[in-house]
Amino acid sequence: MNGDFPWLTVMAALPFVGGLVVAALPAGKRVLAKNTALAVTLAELVLAIIVTVKFSPDGDRFQFTESYAWIKSFGVHWSLGVDGIGLVLILLTAALMPILVLASWHDADTPQVSASGEAPSGKAAPRSTHAFFALMLMVEAMVVVSFAATDIFVFYIFFEAMLIPMYFLIGGFGGAQRSYAAVKFLLYNLLGGLVMLAAVVALYVVTANHDLGGTGQGTFDLVRISQAVATGELDMNPTAEKAMFLGFMFAFAIKAPLWPFHTWLPDTMTEATPGVAVLVTAMVDKVGTFAMLRFCLEIFPDASKTFAPVIVTLAVIGIIYGALLAVGQTDIKRLIAYTSISHFGFIIMGIFAMTTQGHSGATLYMINHGFSTAALLLIAGFLISRRGSKTIADFGGVQKVAPVLAGTFLVAGLATLSLPGLAPFVSEFLVLVGTYSRYEAAGLFATVGIILAALYVLVLYQRTMTGPVKAGVEKIRDLNVRELVVVAPLMAVLLVLGVYPKPILDVVNPAVEETMSQVERTDPKPSNPIVPAAQPLAAETHGGSK
């Protein structure tokens, strides 16, 4: 229906090839490397926009589908396709990447702080800039494939392979402890991925035993498997289903991250450059939450339902825990990292509440959190790079010397605390309502998170931006043009999606309904539904004016 043009493959290939080109550019041509990277990400954004425009929300569930046999022996196909959920996440990725490239413009030009914490000496490696942006593009390509894969094996491959460029990005650029952080990131996620590998293998065997792939073979085709699950053709042994679910979930819970598998995230985000930190939280981690929604729920609906209360509980703990820890941090980036843990709690809670509000809210949350965290982290990054410290106590009174920086930081902070009118509010509220309608207590406890969110954001703002101008702060310049270009679109998106999230919800809702029917869950009904007699009135009022 979308013609035969392999849009998604092209979208995957473009950054990949772009990354290779950037890496291959002659040493010393730093600016050229940056410009190329920027051009590639912008082109990718254009592609994403085209695909979004061509996507018809009322059409087939998966669109732009393509499938080529890849590894026949394992029944693997290069199968891509997007539903509303995948599409908006791809759009998020494509939209954030140019911003990140621009925000990281100088991050790889200077030599990095050595592991022993000494001030950087000498010049940066001649190709460090190339490497940095090439790796970023690689990650983008892999993230796009992960969101678009309808073959579990393909998803898995890119889910795992993504770790490597991320690892080099974290370990190669950033703070003094970056190599520790990079190793921790990699090992944590690799462990999750390997456990998932066992589950993937098991799933293949199960599908093979049910002859889903034909001729005694198994299959990794998500659509085929989920159909078979829905029709009962694939009736898994409950114990096996639970085990496989846990195997998948373990990987995603680490990636997302869900409490108590979160401890890699603060280290990573603290040590990585702001751009890379955004890459981790805004996109790479979203693959984890996306995969819960896409794979855990669709393939293992029964196990998902069995474990939902447990996971919701962990998510709620994560919400409160992350928020409390954020309050207790003394490092700006670490603080932001813990806020993300809290937010991931919301997303996961929404997913496992298994209500339409929860699912749509969680999906929207992924988008909004991407933008709000990007804003918060990038601006914090600008601030940190100016002062040369990320300790909160080293700041104070920035508002006086850099009002625009402080103002945008406040907006980003307000988005983080889900101020109504800004984008994250809509998603957070949907998640909370969706959770509350199925798990009241969880909903209540999670709502406490909004108070704590106010606390950590405002404490951060107060300590850094207000009060008398601290020594060392007075030289801080306000945002320059490049930085404004970075921040402005983020602010705009946060505002627009806050009052008009409809375009995204329209795309997401049909996909969510599919998922809901797959897990055979329906929304709890209101105890006192408003009698239909009231409807005409309401309709009249709604239709009356424009």
């Binding site: 401890t263 949907l430 108070i451 405002l458 107060q462 008398p468």
Partner: protein, 663 residues
């Protein structure tokens, strides 16, 4: 006194169900959105325009406020031209969030109740914009100040015009944000920044209530629009309604600084005085009253919730009044008074249909006189080098006559001097409290009476310490800084006095106008419903008692502060005085019950996260590493030990193979 039949509470409420008979906006009413749109645009222009708009920013902001007021006035005129159900207008703007049953729209609802608020907000708001032009003249960030004021107006208007609870929530937090920005406007002062943060966070506690209330509505009714929730509330279970009611009350407590979430209001006086006047006296803090009144049907359906509302109101009335008696800071004294006065309103709103209209009436009159008082206080500070300690005032009536007169009129209004605004509105609440009936009625009535006396006492105290007595500001204070110099009190410029005069008029006449033909009550009845309570005794008895209490309060204050010298340093005072000075230990209690434990918990968790969870992971890694470094020693380097391990291995493999067969 009223034509409305003394019908049952429920009948009245069903008749006047909020928005039950709304019509779609057309004609003039299709401009309703402009009321919000204008100040919002103003805020946007001023914030995005940056320094370029510095020169004319304040004018622009004022213009947008006035424009909004003009639209509001036009709407009011148009509404007067309509009758009955046609006064309830809905304007659908666009669909906001639609997911399954969750259907939220951006839509406005204009009826008599919101009209009152819109007029109050835009009217007082415009006056305070004008006042601020002069007051903030020397502030380098004046433009930003006006931007925030505009933002506040827009949010507050959204709050009162929203046609569903979720959109109301947007306005609700929007005003919180504006309040935060304005309290902390002088961010370089750590105290201001702290106060702003405190206000926002305590408000968030209230917001928690509002959020949960919406969850409850959604799970009970599948909707949260005023129309449907309020229409369906009579049918829902008591438990649900009580839960929703209590959650709404929690929200109201946060926003309106009611017990137990009252602690932020005093600190909020760190903000510039116009802010205190507009936000923390006239409008925002009354949002809780609006919320309860708007949700009348919910509370009507739950007497338990209503009882709690009245209790909260009663406690706060006294709390504020007691604290107000001991404050030396003029703004804090007024703030405590605000708290107390809003306690009156909440109490009245908790009384149900016999009180809603009076709650709103007191809200409006209070809006006039309290704004006037604050502006007066601002004018005094303006002339006194921003001194706020009343012990450093005295005899100022000669130096700032206009301020003195307008402040004095406001003073008379608030203490309930006969025939001034406060007299009517407060009297009605006292009546309604007694009319509640039974022991409850007597207790509430007595509370309101005692509070009336206290009000008279502390306001007289303020008045005397500020405008009468010796000119204490001429002497250097104890421990004055070396560069201390004597202030030169002077009257404020016209831009400041003019709003004060206008408000003084309101303070004097509004109450009278409202009770004329019961105009105000009749206006609101279609929305809030009204039932006339049965007083246990004559109306005149109440009026008499109230007036006597006021006289008593004034007399005591006169004896204490006019007949005796006001000491420059506050005397030790009784235990009660000390407690009142410390806001009845509200901060210590919050600190002891919430902050400290919270800090300990946070510290514990930070420790646990590092040592516990991460420690476990690290421990696992260390364990594997340790195992590794131990096990590698098995590789001794001696070929014979290798051979031994092979031999042993062979033995094990052979034995295991044999045993596998046996097993």
């Amino acid at each position: 006194m009223t034509q409305t039949s003394v019908s049952s509470v429920y009948l009245a409420s069903t008749e006047g169900g909020a928005g039950m008979h709304s019509v779609a906006a057309s004609g003039v009413f299709s401009a309703t959105w402009l009321v919000i749109g204008l100040p919002l645009l103003g805020a946007a222009v001023l914030l995005l325009g940056g320094r370029r708009t510095n020169r004319f920013g304040h004018w622009l902001g004022t213009l947008f406020a006035l424009g909004s007021f003009a639209v509001a006035a036009a709407l009011f005129a148009a509404m007067l031209g309509e009758s009955g159900a046609d006064r309830s207008i809905d304007q659908h703007l666009w669909n906001w969030v639609a997911v399954g049953d969750f259907q939220a729209e951006i839509g406005l609802h204009l009826d008599q109740l919101s009209m009152v608020f819109v007029l109050l907000i835009t009217g007082v708001g415009s006056l305070i914009h004008i006042y601020s032009i002069g007051y903030m003249e020397h502030d380098e960030n004046r433009r930003r100040f006006f931007a925030y004021l505009n933002l506040f107006l827009a949010s507050m208007l959204l709050l009162v015009l929203a046609n569903n609870y979720l959109l109301l929530y947007v306005g609700w937090e929007g005003v919180g944000l504006a309040s935060y920005l304005l309290i902390g406007f002088w961010q370089h002062k750590p105290s201001a920044a702290t106060a702003a943060k405190k206000a926002f966070i305590m408000n968030r506690v209230g917001d928690f209530g509002l959020a949960v209330a919406i969850f409850l509505m959604f799970t009970a009714f599948g909707t949260f629009s005023f129309d449907e929730v309020l229409g369906g509330s009579a049918a829902a279970s008591d438990g649900t309604m009580t839960a929703i009611g209590l959650m709404l009350l929690l929200a109201a407590c946060g926003k309106s600084a009611q017990f137990p979430l009252q602690a932020w209001l005093g600190d909020a006086m760190e903000g510039p005085t116009p802010v205190s006047a507009l936000i923390h006296a006239a409008t925002m803090v009354t949002a809780g009253v609006y919320l309860i009144t708007r949700s009348a049907e919910i509370f009507n359906a739950s007497p338990d919730a209503q009882l709690v509302v009245t209790i909260v109101g009663a406690i706060t009335v006294l709390f504020g009044a007691i604290v107000g008696c001991a404050k030396d800071d003029i703004k804090k004294a007024l703030a405590a008074s605000t708290m107390s006065q809003i306690g009156y309103m909440i109490l009245a709103a908790g009384l149900g249909p016999i009180g809603y209209a009076f709650a709103i009436m007191h809200l409006v009159t209070h809006g006039f006189f309290k704004a006037g008082l604050f502006l007066g206080a601002g004018s005094v500070m303006h002339g006194m080098n921003d001194e706020v300690d009343m012990r450093r005032y005295g005899g100022l009536r000669k130096y700032m006559p206009v301020t003195f007169v307008t402040f004095g009129l406001g003073y008379l209004a608030i203490i309930g001097f006969p025939l001034l605004s406060g007299f009517f509105s407060k009297d009605k609440i006292i009546e309604a409290a007694f009319a509640k009936g039974g022991t409850t009625g007597y207790v509430l009535g007595s509370v309101t009476l005692v509070a009336a006396a206290l009000t008279a006492y502390y306001m007289t105290r303020v008045m005397l310490m500020t405008f009468f007595g010796r000119e204490r500001w001429k002497e250097a204070p104890v421990g004055a800084p070396a560069d201390w110099h004597e202030p030169h009190p002077h009257e404020s410029p016209v831009s400041m006095t003019l709003p004060m005069i206008v408000l003084a008029f309101g303070s004097v006449f509004a109450g009278g106008l409202f009770v004329l033909n019961d105009a105000f009550v009749n206006w609101l009845t279609p929305v809030t419903g009204f039932s006339h309570g049965e007083l246990p005794f004559s109306v005149w008895v109440v009026t008499g008692m109230a007036t006597a209490m006021v006289a008593l309060g004034v007399a005591v204050a006169y004896v204490q502060y006019a007949r005796r010298e006001v000491p420059a340093v506050a005397p030790q005072g009784s235990l009660v005085t000390v407690a009142a000075r410390k806001d009845l230990y509200q901060d210590s209690i919050n600190e002891g019950l919430v902050m400290r434990p919270g800090q300990y918990l946070t510290r514990l968790l930070v420790w646990l996260d590092g040592r516990g969870i991460d420690g476990f992971v690290g421990g696992l890694a260390a364990f594997i590493g340790g195992t590794s470094s131990r096990v590698r020693k098995v590789q001794t380097g001696f070929v014979r030990s290798y051979a031994l391990s092979m031999f042993g291995g062979t033995a094990v493999v052979v034995a295991a193979t044999l045993m596998a067969r046996m097993a």
